[in-house]
Every structure is written in structure tokens, then in C-alpha cells.
């Protein structure tokens, strides 16, 4: 699909959207929204599938910048970014190596924790551990150290797929199986009750800045797949209902995590603020959702900025780094 903007001397941006993952539909929506916003400010935009014609399309389109709007492994695990680097065309978002670190939640947690950011206690267990050892014994050992309630999640996955909050021991095996459906490595993490925040970080060339935090209050109490993508299923508060001091701390954590993980241009850092005001890092997203109900666009608009202008500035920032 090709759409052309009108303004002269504007960048030609190739958006990659779709892919083969369970987040394909979200990626297509994100790509379309980014394209619409960029067209509004006069950019020339091409939307492409990352398929067997990826490299030939890059040669044909000759974009100034590529914007990979690919959620899930295909866009976030670094592989595609390595390929894009080979083409010499600058692209928006994290480098391949930084994406790899952030994509694996267990590794991201270690890196940010080493830099003084608090993250809930957890243990990371590959599926093979359970095959080789006594599964029941391993789970008992884990829960003797990390108390219920727990969160079990795939180390590498998105859109809350495969995540289960576990309140008692007899729910744990099923939660592990559900997490291993999505990834061969699962994280068992202490559940932190509190205010769930998504803090978008953008760097338009003058250093990373935290946008207003978006507070997430799902109607059902759980921010799952449906709550993320269906209008009306979640109430968002922008900025979050926090004191200025807590809001500042959360923003600091987000920028710190973004920098520590070596991310660039844009990211979304998910945190929880507990009742004492402690900010807990949960994960970093190198390709935040950019659909009509996604969190980064909400933060941009809450700040009073124009989506098209911010997206175009991000593309320009990538272009300058070529």
C-alpha cells in the first residue's frame, strides 16, 4: 500500500507493519495510524509488509527512514533491526542489540536493577529446567522464597499474552504452561499491588524525555488483551493521579530505564507504583503500540503535542543518525 503526502522536502518514510505474530493485527493498526499522522504533516509514506520482498521493497522505495511498527518477536527481538542495519537506511527505534536486551524481560530486569532501579523479586526459569528437574519440587522451592500472589509471564512476548496472576499454589502449574505457550523461558515475579503506569519516553534529538504518565485502570481489574485494544474496557487517566513527587520519581525511573537499556528515539516503560510510592520497573517496550487506544499517543496528546509532528521529529532524529 502506498500513500503520498504533498509537502516538498519532507522525508520519505517506509513503515513496516504486519508480520507473522499474534500481534499482527495490532501492528497493522499501529502502522496505519503512524502513516496517517505522518501524512498529515506532509511526509511521503509507504506501508510495507516485512515479507520476502522486504529488501527489494527497500531498494525500490528508497526511503529516507524506515519505521518498524512490528510488535512481537519479529519486530522487537532485534533480528529485523540487524537486517535493516545492513541496508544502511536509518530506522526509528532501538538498535538491534538494545532491542534484544529489552525484549527479554528477564534480562531487562537484571540490567535496570544493576543500575539501581527497583523491580519486583523474580526468578527466571527455562522450560527445560522443569523437564530435567522435579517440577513440583522446583515450584515449591520458588514459592517458599517469593510469596503469593505472583505473576507468571513469558520472558519474551507482548500484549499481556501468556500472563497470569497466581494467587495460590494449585494455579501455578497451569500458569507456567500458559506462559511456556508463548516462550520457552518464563518469569515468576512477585505481584506488586498498586497503580499501573505506562510512561512513554521520546528523544527528539535533545535527550530522552518522559511524557505524562498514563494510569491504567481496567474495568475488569486485569489489563489483558481485550482491555488493551477494545475501547471502553479500560479507563486511562492522563496524567496519572499521582502527587507531583511520585510522578517525578516515576518519570525519572522511566528515563533511567530507557537510557540504561540503551534505547533510542522512543520507548514505553511500564511500572507499578505501590502504596508507599515506590516505583517498580516491570518492562520496557521498544515498539510501543501506536493504535488509536495505545498509550504513547495518549501521552503525546496529553502533553499538548501534535502526533504527526512528534512522529515526524522522531523520523528526523533517526535520519540525522544515518
Amino acid at each position: 500500500m502506498i500513500s503520498k503526502g504533498k509537502a516538498k522536502n519532507k522525508l520519505k518514510i517506509q513503515i513496516l507493519a504486519g508480520g507473522i505474530s499474534h500481534e499482527r493485527d495490532i501492528s497493522l493498526k499501529s502502522g496505519r495510524r503512524v502513516a496517517d499522522a505522518l501524512l498529515e504533516v506532509g511526509a511521503e509514506v509507504v506501508i510495507r509488509e516485512p515479507d520476502d520482498k522486504l529488501l527489494s521493497n527497500i531498494k525500490k522505495d528508497k526511503p529516507d527512514v524506515i519505521w518498524p511498527c512490528l510488535h512481537g518477536a519479529s519486530g522487537e527481538d532485534g533480528a529485523l533491526r540487524d537486517i535493516l542495519s545492513l541496508t544502511g537506511v536509518p530506522f526509528v527505534g532501538a538498535t538491534a542489540s538494545a532491542a534484544r536486551l529489552a525484549w527479554d524481560k528477564s534480562i531487562a530486569k537484571i540490567i535496570v536493577a544493576n543500575n539501581g532501579i527497583q523491580t519486583p523479586a523474580s526468578i527466571t526459569l527455562p522450560k527445560d529446567t522443569f523437564r530435567e528437574l522435579d517440577a513440583d519440587g522446583v515450584l515449591k522451592a520458588v514459592t517458599s522464597v517469593i510469596n503469593f500472589p505472583l505473576v507468571v509471564k513469558p520472558a519474551r512476548s507482548g500484549s499481556a499474552l501468556g500472563i497470569t496472576v497466581v494467587n495460590k499454589a494449585d494455579e501455578l502449574s497451569r500458569a507456567m504452561i500458559d506462559a511456556y505457550v508463548y516462550c520457552d523461558v518464563a518469569i515468576i515475579e512477585k505481584f506488586v499491588k498498586g497503580t499501573e503506569l505506562a510512561i512513554s519516553v521520546v528523544d527528539l534529538g535533545k535527550g530522552p524525555l518522559a511524557l505524562p504518565a498514563v494510569e491504567i485502570e481496567p474495568v475488569s481489574g486485569r489489563y489483558g488483551y481485550q482491555e488493551r485494544y477494545i475501547a471502553g474496557e479500560t479507563n486511562y487517566f492522563v496524567p496519572a493521579r499521582l502527587t507531583q513527587a511520585v510522578a517525578n520519581r516515576a518519570a525519572e525511573v522511566a528515563v533511567n530505564a530507557h537510557e540504561t537499556l540503551g534505547l533510542r528515539h522512543l520507548s514505553r516503560i511500564d511500572v507499578i507504583v505501590d502504596s508507599k510510592g515506590t516505583v517498580w520497573f516491570l518492562e520496557a517496550n521498544v515498539v510501543p503500540g501506536l493504535t488509536e487506544t495505545s498509550l504513547l499517543p495518549q501521552a503525546v496528546l496529553a502533553e499538548g503535542s501534535n502526533l504527526g509532528e512528534v512522529y515526524y521529529s522522531l523520523a528526523e532524529a533517526a535520519y540525522r543518525q544515518r
Partner: protein
């Protein structure tokens, strides 16, 4: 550092408090999102029930189009009657006669696919909390409609011979004991979607007898009846009882793009269906109806249906053979026609949770949960063999076997 301005709440739907209660019955799931992946050519889709329209020579349609435009061009692009085109309704009589139904064209209403007929009938009968009895499993599109009208779907035990009369009586007694109002029994009696099973000939009069005695309407949905592999299906339930509401469709024996189906109903109900249809969309597409009418007139459509039978028989054989080769421990139904195999998975495997892994392995199917209105069905999945080539069916089922074996291994690990 962002200044903490006054928080504003947003749920992206300013009309959330204004919707009718039934609007909240509409929901999407991650399963639906996964089907976006199916369009990628790398993925073998055993999911959607798409007919293999490539087996329909397009010159037959071109010929029908030319004929229609020459004879009835202005009528075809005009509004029509709410009951549907009279010529087509005459022709439908012959089609229904192939399954033992002797009907008056006057009792037929042409609809926008049989799906719309189903919606119209459901809208006429169902109040919130009413009971619809259905096979277990049942057609996902019907479940969606019944849910939308806030009905309670009570599944009735169904085996390789279709719905069980004893289980039907038991379900009726159970619902009556609970003081619930049963509105109708919904059935896909031939090569059912999703199970592929056919209601046995000897069970048909028993089902009718029970429903007559209990004053329960039967809604007989028969899109696949003509797509048998070797021998024709038993006569339709409607042939045994004029009070049965019978739904037919051209989606599987011609092409779904026309969106033409029909309903045969007792006169009083027929009138209400016509009024409801006129109220909803004035009339079904005259263009589609007249195209089909001309196609039935000039093409050897029976031969074309026979071609479809051959295509689907070959694909069914490929699917069954692949299941037996790669999934020897998985139970499957053995259909005598139609599009589907219904697989029973090893205990503990959740077909809905497993779907993302399958997609990662480049194969898609429909989880069993889609075919139950009560949240069950995790142990099953539907394989649709109608669209992929026999070679791709084999590849897809081999990939599926890899995924199922992986899941089995996981379950064994955590059940030690």
C-alpha cells in the same frame, strides 16, 4: 520532568453508558486477532470455513452476468421485494426437493446469506434469558447471534450420529425444571460445522417427535447437505414436519461472495421474517439474486456441485490421512461430506492457548471454545480442509502435530 496537570479520564468510548445491554455481548478476543495472520501465504490455514471458489469456472459466472444484464439489467440494479426475487424462489423449490422438501415458493424468503436469516429468526423469537438448545459443539456464527440476543445456549450431547434424542429430552426436562423458556432447537444436521457429523436417519423422526411433543420449534440450518462425498444425506427434517424452519445457502454450493441464502418457514412466521427483513435492509441484493437465478438457469450447476464434491473429498482424504499419520493419538470425526474434521486433543491441552504457538509454526485452526456458548471446548479443535491444497493440508497437519506434541510434553512435565 512533566508537570502533573489535572488528570483526565479517557476510555475511548464516550457512549459506553448509552449502549443497549446487548451491545456488551459483542466482544473480540486474541483468537480473532490471530486470524489476521492467516492472510499471510506462509501460513497454512485450517481455520476459516472458506469454500474453494477456484474450482468454480469463472466463465460460468460471466455467462450468467451477460444473460442477466441482457434480460433483466434494470431490475438487477433496482430495489426489489422484501421476500426476494420470485424467479429465484421458484428455482429454490427444485433445490430443496433434492433433500425431500416439497415447499411452496411463497413460503420462501431470500436473505443476505443464511446468516441473516438466522439473525432475523433469532430476533423474532429471543428475549433475554430464553433458552436455545444446540448441538455440542455448534456453529460459531449461530452462537454469536444467540449471545447477541442474550439467550442462554444449552448444548446437547452430540456423538458421531449427531445430536442424541435421549440427551435432548434430558436437556429439555432440565431446562423446564429450572423454569426456563426454551424457544428453539438449532441444528446443522448434515456434515455439521464444526463436527462434520451427520444426524442419523433414524434419529431424525425422534428429534421431531420430541420437539412436537414439547412444543419446541426446530431451526434446521443446512448449508452443506448437497456436498456429500458418496451418498446423499437423509431427507431434511423439514420434509417430515412443515413447522420446521429451514435455512439454506448458496455460499458453499456456489460462492459466499454473493451473500445469498434463504429461509423456508410456515406462512405466519414467513410474513414476520419478510417484515423484519424489510425493516432491516429493505430487500436482499437484487443483483446477487438475479445472478444466481441466471446461473441456475443456464449453467449445469448440479455438475458444478459434483465438482466441488470431488475437490472436498480429495481434501478430506488428505486431512484424515495426515491426522492418522502425524497425530495417531488424536481422535477425529470422519465426515461423509462438508468441510470439517473435529479433533479431540489429549487431556489437558488447551486449543485456545495453543493457537499462538501454532501460528508461530505457520499453521492456523479454530479452537474448540469458539463452538460452545458455555465457555467449554478447550479440549477440541476444528480443522477445515476445504481451502488448502491436499499437499498444504498435509504440511499444516504435520506442523500442528509438532505443536500438539510440544504441548503434550509440557503437560507431562508439570504433571509428574
Amino acid at each position: 520532568m512533566p508537570e502533573n496537570k489535572t488528570p483526565r479520564s479517557n476510555n475511548f468510548d464516550g457512549w459506553l453508558d448509552a449502549y443497549a445491554d446487548r451491545a456488551h455481548t459483542l466482544s473480540v478476543s486474541e483468537v480473532r486477532a490471530l486470524f489476521a495472520v492467516v492472510s499471510r501465504p506462509e501460513v497454512v490455514s485450517l481455520a476459516g470455513g472458506m469454500p474453494y471458489v477456484q474450482a468454480l469456472p469463472k466463465e460460468l459466472l460471466a455467462q450468467a452476468y451477460e444473460g442477466m444484464m441482457a434480460k433483466k439489467g434494470n431490475l438487477a440494479i433496482q430495489y426489489g421485494g422484501g421476500q426476494g426475487d420470485a424467479d429465484l424462489r421458484e428455482q429454490l423449490r427444485d433445490i430443496m426437493a433434492m433433500e425431500g422438501i416439497h415447499a411452496s415458493p411463497d413460503d420462501v424468503v431470500v436473505t443476505t446469506g443464511s446468516q441473516h436469516a438466522l439473525d432475523l429468526v433469532a430476533g423474532l423469537f429471543l428475549d433475554k434469558g430464553d433458552v436455545v438448545l444446540a448441538e455440542g459443539p455448534s456453529y460459531v456464527g449461530a452462537i454469536g447471534i444467540f449471545r447477541h440476543y442474550e439467550a442462554h445456549i444449552e448444548h446437547v450431547y452430540t456423538d458421531d450420529n449427531g445430536i442424541s434424542p435421549e440427551a435432548l429430552q434430558e436437556a429439555i426436562d432440565n431446562m423446564k425444571a429450572q423454569g426456563r423458556r426454551i424457544k428453539f432447537l438449532y441444528l446443522v444436521p448434515n456434515f455439521a460445522n464444526p463436527s462434520g457429523v451427520t444426524l442419523a436417519k433414524d434419529r431424525r423422526p425422534k428429534i421431531i417427535e420430541i420437539c412436537q411433543r414439547e412444543h419446541i420449534l426446530i431451526l434446521e440450518d443446512n448449508p452443506y447437505g448437497l456436498l456429500y462425498f458418496d451418498k446423499p444425506v437423509p431427507d431434511a427434517l423439514r420434509s417430515m414436519d412443515d413447522n420446521v424452519i429451514y435455512l439454506g445457502s448458496f455460499s458453499k454450493i456456489l460462492a459466499p461472495g454473493f451473500r445469498v441464502g434463504y429461509v423456508l418457514a410456515p406462512p405466519a412466521l414467513r410474513d414476520k421474517i419478510v417484515l423484519a427483513q424489510e425493516s432491516a435492509l429493505l430487500c436482499p441484493s437484487m443483483f446477487s439474486q438475479m445472478m444466481i437465478s441466471e446461473y441456475l438457469e443456464v449453467a449445469d450447476w448440479r455438475k458444478q456441485v459434483d465438482t466441488f464434491r470431488g475437490v472436498y473429498r480429495e481434501r478430506k482424504d488428505a486431512a484424515l490421512s495426515a491426522v492418522r499419520e502425524y497425530l495417531p493419538n488424536v481422535k477425529t470425526t470422519t465426515p461423509d461430506g462438508g468441510f470439517y474434521l473435529w479433533l479431540t486433543l489429549p487431556k489437558g491441552i488447551d486449543s485456545k492457548a495453543m493457537l499462538p504457538v501454532a501460528v508461530k509454526e505457520l499453521v492456523a485452526y479454530t479452537p474448540g471454545t469458539a463452538f460452545f456458548g458455555d465457555g467449554t471446548g478447550h479440549d477440541y479443535l476444528r480443522v477445515c480442509y476445504s481451502f488448502p491444497t491436499p499437499e498444504n493440508i498435509k504440511v499444516g497437519i504435520k506442523r500442528l502435530a509438532t505443536v500438539i506434541n510440544h504441548q503434550t510434553e509440557l503437560l507431562e512435565t508439570f504433571s509428574k
